[in-house]
Symmetry: C2
Subunit: 190 residues, 2 copies
């Protein structure tokens, strides 16, 4: 085994959360897919499913932030980077049979009214994304307040497009959301 048991459990859980959500992911299935003994799960995560879930949310959220911000920074211009985020997300969705969209959206909706600790974990992730995206817009010379609105608008458009895209198995919503975000950026610059 290359990776540690703990990492395998985290990675497997993250992958299952994407497709099956929080309640839809069973711990027995997790340890089975991760080739880990059941006892190890409760050794590494004594808090049980909730602790594991919290770590997965934060971990997946951070990884996705890094990925998206890297793509965002890839374009020659801010506009190009923004467009790349949406077209890149569309490409991944197509390649994974419309399974791999936002790593935490399903879980975020599930736990919003059922688990305060997990809800807080999702808030931390979303806040991190907003701060990172805001910083990117500010660096490009946009005022702080407009930059924050742009960041929130972009993330909301992306998340909403993911919902439509996964359901309809089409990337049309992502293309529309990308154009709409671009329009908002233009308006903030003008």
């Amino acid at each position: 085994m290359e990776t540690s048991t703990k990492d395998r459990i985290l990675d497997t859980t993250a992958a299952m959360f994407r497709r099956y959500g929080y309640t839809g992911t069973g711990l027995k299935q997790v340890v089975q897919r991760a080739n880990a003994p059941f006892g190890s799960l409760y050794h590494h995560f004594p808090g049980g499913k909730e602790e594991l879930g919290g770590e997965v949310i934060r971990r997946s959220g951070k990884m996705y932030e890094d990925l998206v911000m890297a793509i965002f920074a890839s374009g020659a211009t801010l506009e190009e980077g923004l467009a790349n985020v949406f077209s890149g997300a569309a490409a991944v969705l197509r390649e994974t049979d419309y399974a791999d969209a936002c790593p935490i959206a399903t879980v975020a909706l599930e736990v919003a009214s059922t688990s305060e600790p997990l809800r807080k974990a999702t808030v931390e992730v979303f806040d991190g994304w907003i701060v990172a995206a805001t910083l990117r817009f500010v660096t490009a010379g946009i005022s702080e307040t407009k930059a924050r609105d742009l960041a929130i608008g972009m993330i909301a458009a992306l998340e909403g497009a993911f919902v439509l895209a996964r359901a309809t198995r089409s990337t049309e919503a992502l293309e529309v959301a990308g154009k709409m975000s671009l329009l908002a950026l233009e308006a903030a610059r003008g």
Copy 2:
């Protein structure tokens, strides 16, 4: 009993789907809350949880479409109606302790990769929303293609804002999404 057993089961399930999602909603809890005998559930829905889920998705989707389109049509202008949709959604969210957002978004994400019949039910609902909103924009004199993009953009912005709003327990995302949609409408008109 005023309403029929079947209706009580449908209403109760719809309410539970909003808060707990599809996998998070147990049939035992449903019949208990609906004051219905367990046997009646399988009498009215011989297809079990999946059939019940499908009916609830379509029913909730249609009801929400009627509600939103009524608010959309309430404003003196198209712009006012659009703004009312987002401010109305924000008001409901605040009043229900950030529980009652989109009635099918959580379920849509859960079933997208797990149940083809239920996924199709969510597609029907989203398509219905898109068609209804497109019609509204077309009626206001916007071209068919631009109207469809506006409809998809508005719904995506609303859904994405719901994700952020429920997680953060704040309506900021809804306000931003509303402004962004308004901007898209202006651009389509100009």
